[in-house]
Symmetry: C2
Subunit: 214 residues, 2 copies
């Protein structure tokens, strides 16, 4: 049987996994709000980010209490340090989903995404969801191999990000400056989201092995 102390450490992991679930739902709904120009969905992403922030506060508070009471050492200490790092990244992913939703809200009832770029945004949304799902499963299982794999999945996001830029800069871009700015920012939000998901996975590698992935 686990003692209370180790149960608290386990509950840190549970909370982090729950954070991945929430920020996955955030980016998923934000992508749909963007593509369907769905104001209500966009608003829900924005208001529900509070849950992500509250969960991170909760994690930080538990950590301070744990450290003050238990003076954890060695691997438990690493768990605590990495939980803080993961929490910071996940909280930021929630913010980035909110940024995407805000562009959807700003342009409603129009769509910020011109027809020819819709499929690219769909793909970016899917990769983002994929990455955070995998990151969540790495946090839960502490599987180093999957965590290392995640870095390659991120390459697909970078390719799509470059593709967006090429479309905006192409001679036949007909939508003018404002949509180009929206696309520039949206592209950056997805790219950053993916980057933070990779960092969560890297933290798992550090947690298990004690050294950072190159």
């Amino acid at each position: 049987m686990r003692d209370a102390y180790h149960e608290e450490l386990d509950s840190l992991t549970d909370k982090l996994v729950e954070m991945t679930r929430l920020v996955r739902s955030g980016i998923s709904r934000a992508t749909t709000a963007l593509l369907d120009s769905d104001l209500q969905l966009a608003e829900s992403v924005i208001s529900r980010d509070e849950e992500v922030n509250a969960l991170f506060n909760d994690i930080e508070t538990s950590i301070l209490e744990l450290m003050a009471r238990q003076q954890p050492v060695a691997v438990d200490l690493r768990m605590i340090i990495t939980a803080l790092r993961m929490g910071t990244d996940l909280e930021r992913m929630g913010d980035l989903a909110v940024h995407v939703a805000k562009v959807a809200r700003l342009r409603h009832p129009d769509s910020a995404i011109p027809p020819e770029l819709r499929s690219t945004i769909v793909e970016m949304g899917q990769i983002a969801e994929n990455l955070v799902t995998k990151a969540g499963s790495c946090v839960a299982t502490r599987d180093v191999d999957s965590a290392l794999e995640l870095q390659h999945d991120d390459d697909a996001m970078d390719r799509l990000h470059r593709k967006l830029f090429r479309s905006i800069l192409a001679k036949d871009w007909q939508h003018g400056v404002e949509p180009a700015i929206d696309i520039t920012l949206i592209g950056r939000y997805y790219e950053r989201y993916a980057d933070h998901a990779v960092r969560v996975a890297q933290a798992v590698v550090y947690l298990v092995t004690g050294s950072r992935p190159s």
Copy 2:
């Protein structure tokens, strides 16, 4: 006389202050590189970011050693947690200076900044430098009042950021899509840089008072 343990804690502060100095130099040189279209200066920002990263690694390593050996409690524990948080923000500020420098490098020998926006970028650079200088001094002195003030200084950056957007979206914008994209990203880099500087100051408030600024 301070014992070895407290000397190590003090040296954490010194390293964080040194990080603020390095990332200040980074954004200062990046802004100049951008305005003067100075390739060599841009390259120096990019290559010297390694120093920032190395310093953060150094801080993380010291913290893990400190925690494993000393099992710090109460305020020392808060120092360690906040040092990690500040280090993460400062490291990101270094990255953002690199992003600015990379735009300068990409457009060299041209300038990414149209003449009518130069003064806005000069101002954004100055505010960024100002914020990080103040943040560094808050870290060194643990002055809560100055740390709280920093949040208002950030408003000036947000105003300039909005001004950039208005210029790009104005009817008389004559530079087309590519410069608009550059300006969009550059504006975002400065705005994020300022945001991270504010977070460093907020961490000082937390360190001293144990509660977060609203």
